[in-house]
Amino acid sequence: MQNKKAVFVCCGTGCLANGSGEIYNAFQKQIKKLGLDVEVIPKIKKTGCHGLCQKGPLVHITPQEITYIHVKATDVAEIVERSIIKDEVIDRLLYFDKQQKAKIQSKEDWTFEKKQYRIALRNCGKIANDSIDDYLEKDGYKALEKVLKTMTGQEVIAEIKESGLRGRGGGGFPTGIKWSLAAKAIGDTKYVICNGDEGDPGAFMDRSILEGDPHTVLEGMAICAYAIGAKRAFLYIRDEYGLAVKNMRQAIATAKERGFLGENILGTDFTFDAEVVRGGGAFVCGEETSLLHSIEGSTGEPSPKPPYPADKGLWGQPTIINNVETWANVPVIINKGADWFASIGSEKSKGTKVFALVGKINNTGLVEVPMGITLREIIFEIGGGIPQKRKFKAVQTGGPSGGCIPEDKLDLSVDFDSLIAEGSMMGSGGMIVIDDRTCMVEFARYYLQFLSEESCGKCVPCREGIKSMLAILDDICEGKGKPGDIELLAEIGAMVQANSLCGLGKTAPNPVLSNIKNFRDEFEAHINEKRCPAGVCKNLTKFYIDAQTCIGCGACLKSCPVEAISGEKKKAHILDEAKCITCGNCRDFCRVDAICVR
C-alpha cells in the first residue's frame, strides 16, 4: 500500500475557477473506464491550494513527486497512462523554472519553493480537503491529545507565550498574552472565535487554509478553549467564501463523529463545540468588535475599546478572537515546542507568515516565508520578478490599511515592526506588486473608494474624513486638483488616524499618506502640470508613438478599439490624439514599448 500512487488535484477556489473540478472528475472517470487492477488504482484527492496559482490547475503525483502545471481535462488520459500506470514523466506539463533555466519535476524543487517554510500551509495541497484521516496521518489532533492529557491550561498559555506567536490578522498582538488575559477574566461562559472575514482585496491566505486544511484551525481553537476555560467556538467566515464554509462545516461534522469535538473529547472531561457563522458582506466585520456584533445578530458597527474582547466580548463574556493563520500555527507549536518556533523568524517576529503575492509578478500565488526575509527575496527570487521585463515600482502591503514600499526599500526585512516603521504594515498578508504602469495617485484613490463603501459610517472622522479625502483625490485624478491639496490630504489624514473609533478609520489614510511620502512627484504632476506620468488617469494622459522605437508591426493598430492608430507595415505608426480614448490597449500589445506618455 505504501507504493500506491496518489494524485493530488488542487481544488482551491483559484484552480477550480480554472477548471480543476473537471480535471478531478476526469481522473475518476478515466480510472473507472480503464478497469484497472485494484493494486494500481491511485487515490485521487481534492486538495487545497498548492501555492503557485499562476500555473494552475496544478496536479501533484506521489510517490514519484511529479508536479504538472496548466493541466487540462484533455491531459488526464495521458497522465493516467504514462505517470500512473507507467512511471514516466510528461515533460511538456512540467514547470520551466526561469531561474534554474530548466524543467523541474517536483514543486518541492522549484525556486518558488526553496525559500519557503510551510507551517500554516503545511498540509495544503498534501491532504484531501474533505478527509479527516488524511489530517490524522499528518499528526492531526496529536497536539490536542498532548494538551488534554499532559498539560494544564496555564502550561499551554506559557508555551504559546514563549513561542513568540503574534496575531497573523494584522494586529500582531502577542497571542499568549491575549490568551492569558481571557484566562484570568471573569465570566461564566467564555468563547473562542476564528476571524475568517478576510476582507483585504488581493488576499486569500485564510481562504486557502479554511478550504484546504480546516481541521488545523479547529484543533488550534480547541487547544485555546482548553487553556482559557471556554466550551464554545464560532468560526466567522465571510459570505463570499462558499467552499471554505462548506469544507469547514464538513470538518466540524467529521471531527464530532470521531470524538475530537463534542463532549468528553478523547476520553477526558473536556467539552468543546464549534459552529460556522457566515458573514453578511462587510469588510468592517473583520474588526473584532464589529465581528462580535455581527455574530450577535446586529449590524457590524464597532464599539469603543476598552473594554477589550478578552475581558468583555461576545455577549459581554471573555472572548478570544484570532485570525485563521494564527490558529493554524497553534497545533504545530504544541507538537514541536515553543523553542522550535522561536528559532524561526526574526527577534520580535517569530515564525513564518503567509503572503498572497499578486499583481505584476511572474509567480502569482501563496508563499509562506520565515519572517526577517527581505522584500527583494520574496519579489525577485520567489516571485520571479516583474513580467515582460517591466520595471518594479512598489509593493503594497497591508491592504487598505497599509502602504506602498518603493524600490529603495526593497531590502527591508519583512516583519511586523519594520513595515510599520516604513509607514505601512504587514496586515493580513496581501502583497501586491506594481510596475511603472500603475499611477500612485489613482492607486491611493482606489483604496479610499473601497474604504468609503466599507466604512460602517458610525463615526465622523472615518465617514466624513474618507469622503473628503476621496473627493479631493477624485479632483486630482480628473485634472481638477488645486495647490494645497497635498497638504490638505495630509492634515485630514492625520486627524482621521488619530480620532477614528476603530482600526478601519485609523488606518484608512495610510495608503494615501504613504504614496504622498514616496511618490510625491506624481501627485505634484497631477496637480500642477495636469499630467499623469504613468498614463492611467484618462483626463491627464496623452499617448504618442515614439518613431525611433516603433518597428511598425501593427499590433497596436489592430488592438485599438477606436481606430486612432494608423501606419504602414515596418514603418513608424502614428497615434491620433483626438480620437484616442486612452484605454491603454495599445501599450499592452506593443512589444517594444514604443507607446509613450507625454
Binding site: 466604512s455 465622523v460 492634515e491 473609533l501
Partner: protein, 260 residues
C-alpha cells in the same frame, strides 16, 4: 483614586470615564453625541484627549475611556486642538446650518473651509442619539439604515412607522435640531405621522400624544395609577413634585404618591 487633568489632581471613581471627572470639575471638553441619559455612543469624536497611561501616550475619546490610577490627561495639547479644528471643519461641511456647530466653529476659531462644498440643507450628523433614545425609551420606530456615506436615520421602508408613538424623544435629544417636529391645532407631526395631542389635566396646555402616554403607563406597569394623574405636562409635574418636597416628603414618597 486620583487622576491628573492638565497637570492638576482630581478624585475619580473606578466606574467613571475621563469625561465624567472633567465635567464634574468644570473642565471643558466639547461633545455632540454625549448624553447623561444615553452615554457611550462615542461617534462624534470631538471629546478626544491625550492620555499618558502605563508609560505610553495616546489619543482617546474622553466619553468612553475609563479612568485608572495616576493617568495623566491633557485636554488642550496642540495636537488635540489642531485635530479638533480639522474635525470641526468636516462638521461644517456636514451641517453648516446647525446652531450648535456654528457656535463651536466660532468658539474654537475654526478657519473657514471652502475647498469642498458644504451640504447646505443637511443638519443630521448621524450621532445616533435619536435611534438610541427610540430604542431605550421608545418603541424602536427609527434606526440607522445603510452604511458609510449612505448612512441615514429613518423608519422601516421609509414609511410612517407603525410603532412610532410621537413622543418626540428623538427630536428633543438631537444636538443639531435635525428632526422636524411640528405642532398645530392640537396635532403633532413627526416622521411623516400625525398624532392627536392631549391636554395637561392641570394647566390645559397640549403636551403629549395618547400613544406616548399609553407607552409610559405600560412601562410603569402596576405602579401606573389612574391615568389622570399621569396626564401632567412637564411643567406641572415639576411644580407638583417641588410642592410635595417643600411639604417635607421624602423623594420616594413623592414618587409613590405621584404614581397612585
Amino acid at each position: 483614586m486620583q487622576i491628573f487633568i492638565n497637570n492638576k489632581p482630581y478624585e475619580a471613581n473606578a466606574s467613571e470615564k475621563i469625561l465624567d471627572v472633567a465635567r464634574r470639575n468644570g473642565i471643558e471638553i466639547p461633545t455632540l453625541c454625549h448624553s447623561e441619559a444615553l452615554p457611550g455612543l462615542a461617534s462624534c469624536r470631538l471629546c478626544m484627549v491625550e492620555v499618558k497611561e502605563n508609560g505610553r501616550t495616546g489619543q482617546v475619546a474622553a466619553c468612553t475611556h475609563p479612568v485608572a490610577e495616576g493617568i495623566e490627561v491633557n485636554t488642550e495639547s496642540e495636537l488635540i486642538a489642531h485635530h479638533r479644528k480639522t474635525l470641526l471643519q468636516l462638521y461644517y461641511l456636514m451641517a453648516p446650518q446647525s446652531k450648535r456647530i456654528k457656535a463651536m466653529l466660532s468658539y474654537y476659531h475654526v478657519p473657514a473651509f471652502d475647498r469642498l462644498p458644504a451640504d447646505k440643507d443637511n443638519k443630521c450628523i448621524l450621532c445616533g442619539l435619536c435611534t438610541k433614545a427610540c430604542s431605550e425609551l421608545g418603541t424602536n420606530a427609527i434606526s440607522t439604515l445603510n452604511r458609510g456615506t449612505d448612512k441615514k436615520v429613518g423608519t422601516a421602508f421609509d414609511e410612517p412607522a407603525i410603532t412610532c408613538i410621537g413622543c418626540g424623544a428623538c427630536a428633543s435629544i438631537c444636538p443639531t435640531e435635525a428632526i422636524e417636529m411640528s405642532e398645530q391645532d392640537g396635532k403633532r407631526t413627526i416622521w411623516e405621522k400625525t398624532f392627536q395631542l392631549l391636554r395637561c389635566s392641570d394647566c390645559g396646555e397640549y403636551f403629549t400624544t395618547p400613544e406616548a402616554l399609553a407607552h409610559v403607563r405600560q412601562k410603569l406597569g402596576e405602579r401606573a395609577g389612574k391615568i389622570e394623574e399621569l396626564q401632567l405636562c412637564e411643567h406641572c409635574k415639576t411644580k407638583k413634585t417641588a410642592t410635595k418636597l417643600k411639604d417635607g416628603l421624602k423623594l420616594e414618597e413623592v414618587f409613590d404618591s405621584l404614581a397612585k
